[in-house]
């Protein structure tokens, strides 16, 4: 199976990445809840890239590449939008959000809870976000003709 896919910056395309991650990880028989968490983490970063970094400009795109390093999966998301500076990130506070009737801002928080390592890097307008997740008891995928 191909390990990379590209979508244009339309939120309707989020499900394309979710389906791709689901299919890619299918042979590894990952626990349902963990699999959903991984899909969620990739979805959250992608939604942020589409909305904030690329302002839903459909002429722009986000690329996802999945690599397996032993029992660790690396999900690499690349785009050419506005770079995200992780040093400016402030963790949201639930009581404040509820009181202010504001629901947004939980994406990266979820990703940080789910993934083992989250990295952001930018060079010019080329941005890369790397998400690492180690999954226990990963069987070797069946050989395909």
């Amino acid at each position: 199976m191909n390990n990379s896919i590209r979508i244009s910056c339309n939120l309707d395309n989020l499900k394309v990445f979710r389906n791709f991650v689901t299919e890619f990880l299918h042979p590894y028989a990952i626990n349902k809840i963990v699999l959903n968490q991984i899909i969620l983490a990739v979805d959250e970063i992608t939604a942020n890239l589409i909305k904030h970094a690329n302002k839903e400009d459909e002429s722009k795109s986000v690329k996802l590449t999945i690599l397996q390093l032993g029992d660790t999966f690396l999900f690499e998301l690349t785009d050419n939008g506005i770079p995200f500076d992780p040093t400016t990130y402030v963790e949201p506070d639930m009581p404040t959000k509820i009181k202010d009737k504001k629901g947004g801002g939980w994406g990266l928080f979820l990703v940080k809870q789910i993934m083992d390592k989250v990295e952001f890097s930018s060079q010019g307008n080329h941005n890369v976000c790397r998400l690492y997740k180690t999954v226990s008891k990963v069987p070797v995928p069946a050989k395909q003709d």
Binding site: L11, D12, L14, K15, R18, K32, I33, L35, N36, Q37, I39, L40, D43, E44, A47, I50, K51, M94, K97, I98, K99, K101, K102, G103, G104, G105, W106, G107, F109, L110, Q113, I114
Partner: protein, 112 residues
């Protein structure tokens, strides 16, 4: 994402069918923002066919929570799949929102 509702006296049951992500959560926000919703005193959310929720979907419920609480409207989730409930749990929302197993349980809690 498909959203349907059933009304019985002062209770509205909203059934969510599909995936609630950054794209489809707009629909849910529109549904919960309707002025008529404030006429009910119980909102039951049937999550049996809710296969996925992201922070955008959770955010819709978070943003309406205070308004419902101020109006003394009970918001109760039921029939939630484990993988979906897990996402609520990561944010600690299972402690701030009422999530029960069945419709009967939801009605019992709603009538307390």
């Amino acid at each position: 994402m498909k959203i349907t509702h059933e009304i019985r006296e002062k209770t509205i049951t909203i059934a969510l069918d599909g995936e609630l992500d950054a794209s489809s959560s707009v629909m849910l926000d529109e549904e919960l923002s309707k002025p008529e919703i404030m006429l009910f005193n119980k909102i039951l959310v049937d999550c049996e066919n809710l296969n996925y929720i992201s922070s955008a979907g959770l955010g819709v419920f978070i943003s309406h929570l205070q308004r419902f609480e101020d109006a003394q409207i009970k918001l109760i989730f039921f029939n939630m799949q484990e993988k979906v409930k897990n996402v609520f749990e990561i944010l600690g929302l299972d402690l701030l929102m009422t999530i029960v197993s069945t419709y009967d349980e939801a009605m019992t809690v709603a009538n307390e």
